[in-house]
Amino acid sequence: MTSLPTSTQRKLGLVIDLDTCVGCHACVISCKGWNTENYGAPLSDQRPYGADPSGTFLNRVHSYEVQPESAPAQLVHFPKSCLHCEDAPCVTVCPTGASYKRVEDGIVLVNEADCIGCGLCAWACPYGAREMDAAEGVMKKCTLCVDRIYNENLPEEDRVPACVRTCPAGARHFGDFADPDSHVGQLTAARGGFDLMPEQGTKPVNKYLPPRPRDTLGQTNGLAPFLDPVAQESKGFVAWLDRALAAL
């Protein structure tokens, strides 16, 4: 049913730390690796070794440059996957009921057996989090690795989404936002986690942590004096060589 639940018991989602993401794309690869052989249709590639390769991914990493008014530009790597919105517009537009939001944990999923591949849900998502698979003709999206997080056949440390498990920088965190004391709830509160495109009214569950303020040129560290050159004036052979070379 494509009516949205009025509330969900849990709000599972991700915190993505824009301060620590190094832009290595490991999460992109592990996501594709896990999801192409588990939940639903595989994530196909078209002409992977051809001149114009293309393919389905559920998670992609953009990079942005931010130019502060009076400081050097900053580079911010920006992973983006489904934000499992509370007011998910992708769900209500679906004519078949294939797209739905789970009452128990808030995960937004596509029942691929019902999907007619009309693409409307992807039109409705402002974040570009849904991609129609060109081989299967059905809509693919992040499942929050619903087949890992409850999977008792996996060791406990693996019961998190593949992207979270793989991130070498620890930039992705998984948890329940309905519980303010959860790891993700506390991170969001402590670091000022924010919503993407809040004006679109989607109420995303996933939160992004802003890059921490950078130090500026001229701002010195307490250890800086110790880094000054010990010998200011050269002596002996080195001094002679200096003078000789300068005279050339």
Partner: protein, 291 residues
Amino acid sequence: MHPAPSVIIFTTLSGLGFGLLVWLGLGLLTPTGWVAFTFFTIAYLLAVGGLMASAFHLGHPERALKAFSQWRTSWLSREAWLSVAALIVMAIYGAGLVFWGAVWTPLGWLGAALCLGAVLTTSMIYTQMRTVPRWRTWLTPALFLALSLGGGALLAGQTTLALILLPVAAILQIAWWVRGDSALARSGTDLATATGLGDIGTPRAFEPPHTGTNYLTREFIHVVGRRHAQKLRAIAFALGYVLPILLLGLPLPHVAAALAVLSHIAGILASRWLFFAEAEHVVGLYYGKRT
């Protein structure tokens, strides 16, 4: 948005077909026998042909029946219901005219209302998209309805009606274009809100996540050159509105009316191409394509 031929043809032709059915249902013309058969055949070819064309853009057309299930929330599902209901009711009404020369007025009125509902729900599929600020205005359903009624009047040979409705549609078209050109800027969504990095400074897309194309770039990031678009707008406006209105004033009513219809269809196809091609989906911001 990618201007998919299937959707352009669908919205244009089925809009016209439903418009013709509205006037038939309202009893503005009550042809009987073969004349009625011809009118209804044209209307059904347009309306059903358009619906079939739209089925081509589905990934799984064989599951299309499932699209009737979510009418409570989905405009696409409502459109499916209203189109089918309109086509069934109008088929019964048409059979009355063709075979018995009978005018079942209440049925015709019901059919006309359902036809208008079908056009309205089609337009609402686009209007509801907050992600495409250019579409999100009451002008979109107003334009779709005016075009359907005006084009339908043209097809039904209702010259006076067409001469009133086509200018109305023309004014709505211009208003829609003018409003649309600043819709994204006024929507409040930009790269700063998309990335949340606006507090630090001015964000700029530095490196895309992939070097090739993907579904998103193909479907949502269609960029039309401004001059190209202006030229097409002029062509769409001349063919879709101005020429048909002028032609209706000529003697030789039949030839002129046929030419007016053809010119109108060509113009509206061009306008519909622009409807999609010029529509900026906000996901383009993430790819640095909307500045």
